[in-house]
């Protein structure tokens, strides 16, 4: 009986052939490398995600009541007359703890938005590429908002 050509193939040959039949999609280009501790800490992703997570909690726990009171209850006239008077609010906000609270209340949801919106742009709005630009635009906006909040609060 003739030897079938398949008997001549070694495992190496078969793997080579399989590798040659590569498809358009490329695997991630990152070559795994042992990173130094410093390099690991300089990666921004854990920090962005951490801010996103903190912002998510602030938005979930604190924003509903804040919006309810400032946005709805006040306009509806459900609040006591002097509740949002200038004198009372300035007095409240002047306290350093209040300033810290307000800084967190304003900034953290902005970072939450920045991280989520960055991925919305890529995945839902279909912008593939411009990755660095989109990231800088989103986080930059959040940083600007936080800086502006710090500035304004410092002035009160």
């Amino acid at each position: 009986m003739d030897r079938s050509p398949i008997d001549e193939l070694s495992l190496g040959d078969i793997l080579e052939e399989s590798d040659a039949r590569e498809v358009k999609r490329r695997p991630p280009s990152a070559r795994p490398r042992r990173e130094s501790r410093m390099r690991q800490l300089l990666r921004p992703e854990p920090m962005f995600w951490g801010l996103f997570s903190a912002g998510g909690f602030v938005a979930a726990l604190l924003l509903p009541i804040t919006v309810g009171i400032l946005g709805i209850a006040f306009a509806a006239g459900w609040l006591p007359v002097e509740a949002l008077s200038y004198e009372r609010v300035v007095d409240l906000v002047s306290h350093p703890l209040a300033k810290l609270y307000l800084l967190a209340l304003v900034s953290l949801p902005l970072f939450h938005w920045a991280h989520r919106f960055r991925y919305t742009v890529h995945h839902q709005l279909g912008v593939h590429g411009l990755k660095r630009l989109v990231a800088v635009a989103c986080y930059g906006t959040a940083i600007a908002g936080a800086a502006f909040a710090a500035l304004v609060l410092f002035r009160i």
Binding site: R21, T66, L70, Y119
Partner: protein, 135 residues
């Protein structure tokens, strides 16, 4: 003698549509959930305007309060409130999915974790409301 196998075979690579998030109910809910972050950011801007007006003195501040009472702004606030409630509900469920608490040999059921987070949300809201309005 090596077998003469073709080194490439034709494949059909389908294009994932840009409107993928409209196609199934779970995808639509996901897109809605992600979009609530936009309303959180809008409210941050409103808060910034509030604080900025406050820092500029009584007249600027009272002007801002008048703006807050405009029907269009109240409508916007209502939308923001609904978005934040949807965000809170989904956020608590996601948190319960990720974070597992062990008590003895068993895991705390996810429903209990969500209920606990809701309880914390109620307590925090009451305390914060008191501080905003009556303190």
């Amino acid at each position: 003698m090596k077998t003469e196998a073709p080194t490439r075979y034709p494949v059909y690579v389908p294009k994932a549509p840009r409107t993928w998030w409209l196609r199934t109910a779970p995808y639509r809910r996901f897109a809605a959930r992600e979009f609530t972050a936009v309303f959180a950011a809008i409210f941050s801007v409103i808060l910034l305007l509030f604080l900025s007006a406050l820092s500029q003195g009584k007249e600027a501040y009272e002007g801002f309060l008048r703006w807050l009472r405009l029907p269009a702004v109240v409508a916007l606030s209502s939308i923001i409130l609904l978005a934040m409630l949807y965000h809170a509900g989904t956020w608590f469920r996601l948190t319960a999915h990720i974070q597992v608490f062990r008590v003895g040999k068993n895991d705390v059921p996810r429903g209990a974790v969500v209920a606990a987070l809701l309880g914390i949300w109620i307590v925090v809201s009451v305390i914060v409301a008191y501080l905003y309005v009556w303190f």
